[in-house]
Amino acid sequence: MNELINKVTKLLNDKTIDAFIGYGQGSTDRVRAIFARTVEQASKLIYTPACTFNLSGYLLKHEVKHLGKLGILANVAALRSIMQLASEFQIKDGEVYILFVNDDASLTEFSDFQSIEAFLEKANIDITPDEKARIEKIEAMSVSERWEFWNKEFEKCIKCYACRAACPMCYCHRCTTDVNQPQWIPVASHERGNLDYHLMRAMHLAGRCINCGECANACPMDIPLNLLTYQLIDPIKTGFGATAGMKADAVYALSTFKPDDKENFII
């Protein structure tokens, strides 16, 4: 932890960065994002096993961007977000100073996107066995059971859009949900409005989701939203050979094709 604080202090002192996005102590047993702009603030940085959430979403937040040149403590999910965002022209190489804490608590700094790509090739990017088991459980249901299952989940949704706000890939200035000519997605959080919203969101994240799980973590109503996009990761990988957030110049799986893409349902 000291190494991290020292490093960030140095970065701030020599003006390499103007602000550093890292973790700090939160309420009771929580950790939260902090934005160190001074040496004093940097001294509050922590890195504990609880520091697991993906900070990369802040890189595109208007007011955070305005702090100046940013540094960030990135975990694997955040690195993948950065790669995906780069492939969508939202972050440029060299724009952000990126630090990573290794298992032995030493720090790695990534000088460029290429080094992140090389690192990610060896990183564990799979969804957890628990998440996998939950997906399999749903897949084992009958169609109508699945409908019932999701209907019950979506019923809880209050359309607070915490999932959207927490997702690093939901950076659109004007979400389709907010488009009203035509009103594709009903604003109301009734069954239809919720189903439409979550299907739309899952589809828009298909091939872009980097499985950080922030959507589900953010949901105050405990809806397992992450499963919607997670279950698309495998088909996109095996079908199209694409995995999101691995390369800064990747072509999006759904904006390309192979003439021999396999399907078994078109007659």
């Binding site: 809880k156 915490a162 409005g193 105050p220």
Partner: protein, 340 residues
């Protein structure tokens, strides 16, 4: 009216629910659903989660649902034909097992919706709702009711309040005429309580953490302290979780849903945390950045409401902090404002 004190055997509690239901009253109560606790219609006591700290969402939806139909219309060749929804078409309802902060939250809503022109949809529902709250034997770090004038045994807003005074007995405080009327359904189960029972003994200990007057005066003065709001809200991601779980947030939006023939007008919850909340058609947004929206949230609750409606916009339930995906802790923020 003067409050009446009674005793109810815990074992008779289930009869209450049975009697309410047999009279046809819908009963809304907290129900545990996975990790969340929802306020939902129930038929029996055993489905009610009475020993939980708080429901995930507040009880406001009993009178201010997340989706509410206010108008129907048909599109005819020459004109639009409207059919109003009768705001009185709402059954007498019992809101059961909520916490004192939930009940007192309705005070703020009453003030907001009662202001002229008054809101018949809310007021009628509220009028027809009898609130039976349960005082709090426990609290957590997010609770700060005592700092905003409430408390674990606060009775304002409740029609009847129950307090567990032993494993077998509940202290029943009948607080309003509405409560009195409802208690007629279970008078036979009540016995008189000794006025000497010290209710406080059975309540959670919630420390006062800030000086409310300071918060109010400092908030009002801090309108232009951009740095303060930015500092507090840099991690805010602009979702509406805080507003939607809040017992006093009352902002709403109207949306029409229609096909080519007919449609409905719906009232839906809205949140000042959303960037589109104040967006003008021109493209101008008077609250351009999140810190300004955060300021609005605090100012509204601790400056504008006390000033204009003579009621505070916060009950200290701490739901917003618990629900916040990025750990925006209102207790902490208010404390720091008080210390400015």
């Amino acid at each position: 009216m003067d409050k009446e004190l009674k005793i109810l055997k815990y074992s008779d509690l289930s009869k209450l629910i049975e009697r309410f239901r047999s009279k046809g009253f819908p009963v809304l109560a907290p129900v545990q659903k996975g990790k969340v606790i929802e306020i939902e219609p129930v038929d029996t006591l055993d489905t009610i989660a009475l020993d939980v700290l708080l429901s995930t969402q507040s009880a406001k939806k009993a009178a201010f649902p997340k989706v509410e139909k206010v108008l129907e219309y048909t599109l005819e060749k020459a004109a639009v034909k409207q059919t109003a929804i009768d705001p009185n078409a709402y059954a007498e309802t019992i809101l059961f097992g909520v916490r004192p902060c939930d009940a007192s939250g309705f005070k703020s809503l009453d003030a907001i919706f009662g202001e002229a022109p008054s809101d018949a949809f809310y007021l009628n529902k509220k009028e027809k709702t009898t609130i039976i709250s349960f005082s709090c034997p426990t609290a957590d770090d997010y609770c700060f009711c005592t700092s905003v004038g409430g408390g674990p045994g606060y009775t304002a807003g409740s029609d009847i309040q129950f307090t567990a005074i032993s494993k077998d007995e509940l202290l029943v405080e009948i607080l309003t005429e509405k409560g009195k009327k409802l208690s007629g359904l279970f008078n036979d189960l009540l016995t008189d309580a000794s006025p000497s029972i010290d209710k406080e003994k059975f309540l959670a200990d919630v420390k006062v953490v800030f000086d409310l007057d300071k918060v109010i005066s400092n908030t009002t003065a801090a309108f232009n302290s951009a740095e303060l709001w930015l500092d507090q809200s840099l991690r805010c991601i602009g979702c509406g979780a805080c507003a939607f779980v809040c017992p006093t947030c009352a902002c709403f939006d109207f949306q029409d849903e229609q096909n080519t023939k007919k449609g409905v007008r719906l009232r839906l919850w809205d949140s000042c945390g959303f960037s589109l909340f104040t967006l003008h058609t021109s493209g101008h947004n008077p609250r351009e950045v999140q810190s300004q929206r955060w300021r609005q949230r605090i100012m509204h609750k601790f400056s504008y409401m006390p000033e204009q409606l003579k009621v505070l916009g916060c009950e200290g339930c701490g739901r917003c902090s618990r629900a916040c995906p990025v750990d925006m802790n209102i207790k902490e923020h208010l404390t720091s404002i008080a210390l400015q």
